[in-house]
C-alpha cells in the first residue's frame, strides 16, 4: 500500500486514540482532507525541484509506534547539551519520557502538547494560536491531522526564562521503519525572552522519517532564540517545517546546524506582522556520503521598517547534495525594509552537487535588499600561508573551513552550544582543531 493511502486510512485508527470532541479535532479533519487532496510533494513542484522523496516514501513506515522500554540517561547523554542546566522535554518514539524530562509550570509553561490540547486551562492559547500560521501544504497538513504530541511552551508577559529549553525526539527503532509527527507550539508574550534547542535523534539503523511542525509566536518585543541541531544517522530523514509569526519590535533568530541524516528538509517561514521587527536565519551545513540537505526559507515583509538577515554556509563532500532556496517577499506597504541574504558554499568532491536559488520578490521601492551567493574553493594562498608555517594539509583545510563557517557561530548566544558545534565541525572535517573556542 502506498504510504499516502496508509496514512489516510490510519487516520481513523488515530481518532480512537484522541478525544474527538475537542474543537481541535475539526482542524485535524480539515487537515487530513487537505493532505488527501494534496498528497506528498514531487519534483514537478517548484519548491521541491531539487529534492526527491521517492527513495524515502517507498519505505513501509509504521505510523503508530509500539510502547518502548525506557532509555537510560547515560546512553543518550551525548545528545543533550548536558553541561548546562536546562528544562527538558524529551520524547522517545513520539511518546513523552517523563524520567528524562524536566518540565515546569512555575510562572511559565514548559510542558506537553497533549496536555495543552486536552486541558481546559490552555484552551484560550490553543484557540488563538494552534495551526494559525502553518501552511496547508502536504507535509504540514499531514502533521496537523496527526497532531497529538510535542512540546508546548508558553512564556507569559515580562519573563526572562533563565534556563534554555531542550526539546529532543529520539527514535529507538524497535520497529522496522517508523514515521514520527511531532507538533510543537511556542508562544512568547510581550517583553519575554526564551532560548530553545531542538534535536531529532535516531538510535537505530532502521529508516525513520520525522515530519515535524513547529509554530512560534513572538509577540511585541519578545526575543526568541532557536537552535536546531541536526546530526542524525544515515537512516534518518527529517522534514522540518517551522513557522514564525512576529509582532512589532520582536526579535527571532533561528540557527540550523545540519551535519547529517539521509535527507533533511528545513522549511523556515517568517511572517513579519508589525513594524521594526528583526528576523535572523543562519545555518551551517557540513555533509558527506549520500546526504541531502535542503534549506527552504521564506521571509515575508508585510510592514515597514523591518529587517531580515540570512546567512547560510555549506560544505559538501562525497556524493552529498545541498539545496538552498531562499525567498524574500517585500510587500508594497513594507517600505524601508532591509533584507539581506547570503549563501556561500564549498564543494569538496566532484560528485557533490549544489543547487541554489536565492529569490527576491519586491513590490516596494524604498528598500534595501540584496542577496549574494557563491560557490567556490578554499583560498590557495591562505592554504599556502598555513602550510608554510608547518600546519599539515588536513589541519590547514580544517582550519580554513572552520573559519569559513565561523561567522554563523558568532551570533550563537549560548557558549556551550558554540563549543558543541565547534567540536561537531572538527569531527565532521576529521581534524582536531586543538583550541577551545
Amino acid at each position: 500500500m502506498e504510504l499516502k493511502e496508509k496514512l489516510v486510512s490510519s487516520f481513523m485508527a488515530f481518532e480512537d486514540t484522541v478525544d474527538v470532541d475537542l474543537p481541535v479535532h475539526d482542524i485535524r479533519l480539515d487537515a487530513i482532507k487537505a493532505f488527501e487532496a494534496e498528497g506528498f510533494p514531487n519534483k514537478k513542484q517548484e519548491a521541491w525541484k531539487y529534492t526527491s522523496l521517492n527513495s524515502i516514501l517507498k519505505n513501509d513506515f509504521s505510523v503508530f509506534p509500539k510502547e518502548t522500554g525506557a532509555l537510560d540517561y547515560k546512553d543518550v547523554k551525548q545528545y543533550f547539551i548536558h553541561d548546562i542546566d536546562s528544562y527538558k522535554i524529551i520524547f522517545v518514539d513520539g511518546k513523552y519520557s517523563s524520567h528524562l524530562s524536566a518540565t515546569t509550570h512555575d510562572g511559565i509553561d514548559v510542558c506537553l502538547m497533549s496536555a495543552a490540547l486536552n486541558k481546559p486551562k490552555y484552551k484560550l492559547v490553543i484557540d488563538n494560536y494552534f495551526n494559525k500560521i502553518a501552511t496547508k501544504d502536504g507535509f504540514s497538513s499531514l502533521n496537523t491531522a496527526f497532531s497529538a504530541e510535542g512540546a508546548y511552551i508558553h512564556i507569559p508577559k515580562n519573563k526572562v526564562v533563565e534556563k534554555p529549553i531542550q526539546i529532543i525526539h529520539f527514535s529507538t527503532g524497535n520497529e522496522a521503519a517508523i514515521m514520527l509527527q511531532p507538533r510543537n507550539l511556542i508562544v512568547v508574550d510581550e517583553n519575554s525572552h526564551v532560548q530553545i534547542i531542538e534535536r531529532h535523534q535516531s538510535l537505530t539503523d532502521n529508516p525513520t522519517l520525522t515530519n515535524s511542525v513547529t509554530e512560534i509566536f513572538a509577540n511585541k518585543r519578545a526575543i526568541v532564540d532557536y537552535y536546531k541541531i541536526q546530526n542524525n544517522r544515515q537512516s534518518a530523514s527529517l522534514i522540518d517545517s517551522t513557522f514564525v509569526n512576529q509582532k512589532q519590535e520582536s526579535l527571532a533568530k533561528v540557527h540550523t546546524f545540519s551535519f547529517g541524516g539521509k535527507l533533511t528538509r528545513n522549511n523556515l517561514n517568517f511572517y513579519q506582522n508589525g513594524e521594526r521587527i528583526d528576523s535572523t536565519m543562519k545555518g551551517i551545513t557540513i555533509i558527506g556520503d549520500k546526504q541531502h540537505v535542503d534549506h527552504n526559507t521564506l521571509v515575508h515583509h508585510i510592514e515597514p521598517n523591518c529587517e531580515s538577515h540570512q546567512d547560510y554556509k555549506g560544505i559538501f563532500d562525497a556524493n552529498s547534495t545541498g539545496v538552498f532556496n531562499g525567498k524574500v517577499v517585500v510587500e508594497k506597504e513594507a517600505q524601508k525594509t532591509n533584507a539581506f541574504q547570503a549563501n556561500n558554499n564549498i564543494l569538496i568532491s566532484d560528485k557533490a552537487t549544489i543547487n541554489t536559488k536565492p529569490q527576491l520578490e519586491i513590490f516596494a521601492d524604498d528598500v534595501k535588499c540584496s542577496h549574494g551567493c557563491t560557490i567556490g574553493q578554499l583560498d590557495e594562498s591562505a592554504m599556502f600561508y598555513l602550510r608554510s608555517r608547518g600546519i599539515p594539509e588536513k589541519e590547514a583545510r580544517g582550519l580554513l573551513m572552520y573559519a569559513f563557517s565561523n561567522n554563523v557561530l558568532d551570533s550563537v548566544k549560548i557558549p556551550e552550544i558554540k563549543n558543541r558545534i565547534t567540536k561537531l565541525i572538527a569531527q565532521k572535517l576529521g581534524v582536531n582543531i586543538g583550541f577551545d573556542l
Binding site: 569538496i348 543547487n355 527576491l360 519586491i362 528598500v367 542577496h371 560557490i375 574553493q377
Partner: protein, 482 residues
C-alpha cells in the same frame, strides 16, 4: 522650472506616448488567419522552399500541436489565440531590389521616421542592414562589399535556396524544433529572418544589422535568425525592433541561433522597442523569444540587450559553453513602465573545461510594471575550473511596480567558482540631494543616476547602437534620462 520631484517624473512617465506608433500604408499580402498543416505548407510553398524544409516545418508543427503554453514565467496576460493570427504578411512590392534606389519610397520614409534611414546608414555608419517588415526581408544593404570577403548575409529564405547545405547543417542544432512551445511554433511558421555566415578566419569589417517591424494588423511576426561564425572569425550583429501602436496584442515569437565554431567570436546586440501598449495596459506586443548560442573551443558569444518595449517579454538569451575555454557573456538592461511585464534573463550551461561566463543584468521598473530576472547557471561535472560571475541590480520607481529575481545555480564540479549578487534599490534621496547641491537639477540628476546605473551594459553596445539605445531609454523613461 520649479522643483522637479519623482512624482512629476512618474506623472510624465504615465503620459509619455510611444513615438514609433505610426502605421505605414504599404500594399501587403496577408494570409487568412488560423494555423493548420495547409498554412504551414502554403508558407513553405510561398517561400519556394525545398522539400526537406517543408518536412522540417511540418515536423515542428506536429510537435507544437502536442505542446501547451508555458505557465511558469512571472507574467500574467491573456493567452493569444493562435487561430486568430495571420501567419504570413508581406509587403507587396516584389521582386527584390538590387540597390537602395529601387525600394518603395514610402517604405524608405518609414525607415527615416525610425531614424534608420538606409541611405544615411550606408554612407555614414557603414552598417550592412537587413530590414524585415512584417517578417519579410525587404532590403539588404552592402551585400556586395560583404560578398568580397566571402561573408554571406541575406534573408534566411534566400539562404535556404542558395546555400541549402549550410542551412540544413545548422538550423535547429542549437534550438531544436521541440525545444519549447514558441520555438516549435516559430519552426513551423517562420516567414523570414536573417542568415549570416562568416568564413574561416574572417573578421567581418562592419556591423551587421537587422531591423524588424510589425506593420500589418493581426499578424504575428516569426523570424528566424541563424548566425554561423566559422573557425577564428568575428562578427558583431545588431538587431532592432519596432511596431505600430495598436489596441490588440500582436505576437512576436522569434528564434535566434548562434553557432561559434573554434576560436570564433559573436557579439549579438538587441535593441528591442516593440510597442509596449498604452498607459492603461491596452495593446502591445507579446514578445516570446528563444535565443541561444553554442560555443565550441575557445569561442566567445556575447549577448547585449536593451529591452524597453513589449507588453510582455519572455526572453532568455543563453549560451551553451560546450568547448573548452569558451566564454559566454550576457549584458542586459530591461526597462518596464506602465503595465509592462518582463521576465528575462539568461542561461549559462558550462560543459567544457575552463569555461567562463559573466552576467550583468539591470532592471528598471516604473509605473505598474513587473520586472523579473530569471537565470540559470549550470556547471556540469566535467566542467573543471568553470567560472561565473552574476550581478542583477534592480531600480524601482514608485511603490506600484515590482522587481523580482529568480536565479538558479546548479554546481556539480568542485573546482567551480560562482558568484551571484543581486541588489534592489531606489534612487536615493541623498544621491539627488548631492547633485542638487552641486547645481544639477533633479531631472538631470535622475538622468545621471539612471545612466550610471545602466552604464556597464550601455558600454557594451557598439557605438552606432549605443546612441539609439540611449534614445530608447529616453522614450521609456522620459524625464529621467537625457
Amino acid at each position: 522650472m520649479s522643483k522637479y520631484t519623482e512624482d512629476d517624473l512618474r506623472e510624465e512617465l504615465k503620459t509619455k506616448e510611444y513615438e514609433y506608433g505610426f502605421y505605414t500604408d504599404i500594399d501587403s499580402e496577408t494570409f487568412p488567419v488560423g494555423l493548420n498543416e495547409d498554412i504551414v505548407k502554403a508558407i513553405s510553398k510561398k517561400k519556394e522552399e525545398p522539400e526537406w524544409m517543408t518536412e522540417w516545418r511540418l515536423e515542428a508543427f506536429k510537435v507544437w500541436k502536442e505542446m501547451t503554453e508555458p505557465e511558469w514565467a512571472n507574467v500574467h496576460y491573456e493567452k493569444p489565440d493562435f487561430q486568430a493570427i495571420s501567419y504570413y504578411s508581406a509587403p507587396n512590392s516584389k521582386p527584390k531590389y538590387d540597390s537602395i534606389d529601387e525600394v518603395d519610397p514610402e517604405l524608405l520614409a518609414t525607415f527615416e521616421k525610425l531614424g534608420i534611414s538606409l541611405d544615411e546608414q550606408k554612407k555614414l555608419a557603414g552598417v550592412a542592414m537587413d530590414v524585415v517588415v512584417d517578417s519579410v526581408s525587404v532590403a539588404t544593404t552592402f551585400k556586395k562589399t560583404l560578398a568580397e570577403k566571402g561573408i554571406i548575409f541575406m534573408s534566411i529564405s534566400e539562404a535556404i535556396k542558395e546555400y541549402p547545405e549550410l542551412v540544413k547543417k545548422y538550423i535547429g542544432t542549437v534550438v531544436p524544433q521541440k525545444d519549447n512551445f514558441y520555438a516549435a511554433l516559430n519552426s513551423a511558421v517562420f516567414s523570414d529572418g536573417s542568415f549570416c555566415y562568416i568564413p574561416k578566419g574572417v573578421r567581418c569589417p562592419m556591423e551587421l544589422s537587422t531591423y524588424f517591424r510589425i506593420n500589418q494588423a493581426g499578424t504575428g511576426q516569426f523570424e528566424r535568425t541563424l548566425v554561423i561564425a566559422d573557425q577564428g572569425s568575428y562578427v558583431s550583429y545588431l538587431e532592432g525592433c519596432t511596431a505600430p501602436s495598436r489596441d490588440e496584442n500582436q505576437l512576436h515569437a522569434a528564434v535566434v541561433e548562434l553557432i561559434a565554431l573554434d576560436d570564433a567570436e559573436i557579439k549579438y546586440s538587441t535593441v528591442q522597442n516593440w510597442y509596449p501598449g498604452n498607459a492603461e495596459g491596452k495593446g502591445g506586443v507579446y514578445n516570446f523569444v528563444t535565443k541561444r548560442g553554442l560555443c565550441e573551443k575557445n569561442a566567445k558569444i556575447s549577448w547585449t540587450q536593451v529591452e524597453t518595449g513589449s507588453a510582455v517579454t519572455w526572453k532568455y538569451p543563453s549560451c551553451v559553453l560546450k568547448g573548452d575555454n569558451s566564454i559566454g557573456e550576457f549584458y542586459s538592461i530591461a526597462v518596464t513602465n506602465n503595465y509592462q511585464q518582463a521576465d528575462t534573463g539568461t542561461k549559462m550551461i558550462h560543459l567544457g573545461k575552463n569555461t567562463k561566463s559573466t552576467i550583468i543584468s539591470k532592471g528598471i521598473s516604473a509605473g505598474k510594471s513587473q520586472n523579473s530576472y530569471r537565470g540559470l547557471v549550470k556547471i556540469n561535472s566535467g566542467a573543471d575550473n568553470a567560472r561565473n560571475f552574476s550581478q542583477c541590480d534592480s531600480l524601482l520607481m514608485g511603490n506600484e511596480c515590482g522587481a523580482h529575481t529568480f536565479p538558479y545555480i546548479e554546481a556539480k564540479n568542485k573546482s567551480a567558482q560562482i558568484e551571484h549578487e543581486a541588489t534592489t534599490s531606489k534612487i536615493g534621496e541623498d544621491q539627488i540631494f548631492y547633485c542638487n547641491q552641486r547645481g544639477i537639477d533633479t531631472e538631470k540628476a535622475i538622468a545621471l543616476i539612471v545612466n550610471g546605473f545602466s552604464k556597464e551594459v550601455l558600454n557594451k553596445l557598439p557605438m552606432e547602437f549605443a546612441v539609439e539605445a540611449q534614445k530608447l531609454l529616453e522614450i521609456s523613461l522620459e524625464g529621467s534620462v537625457g
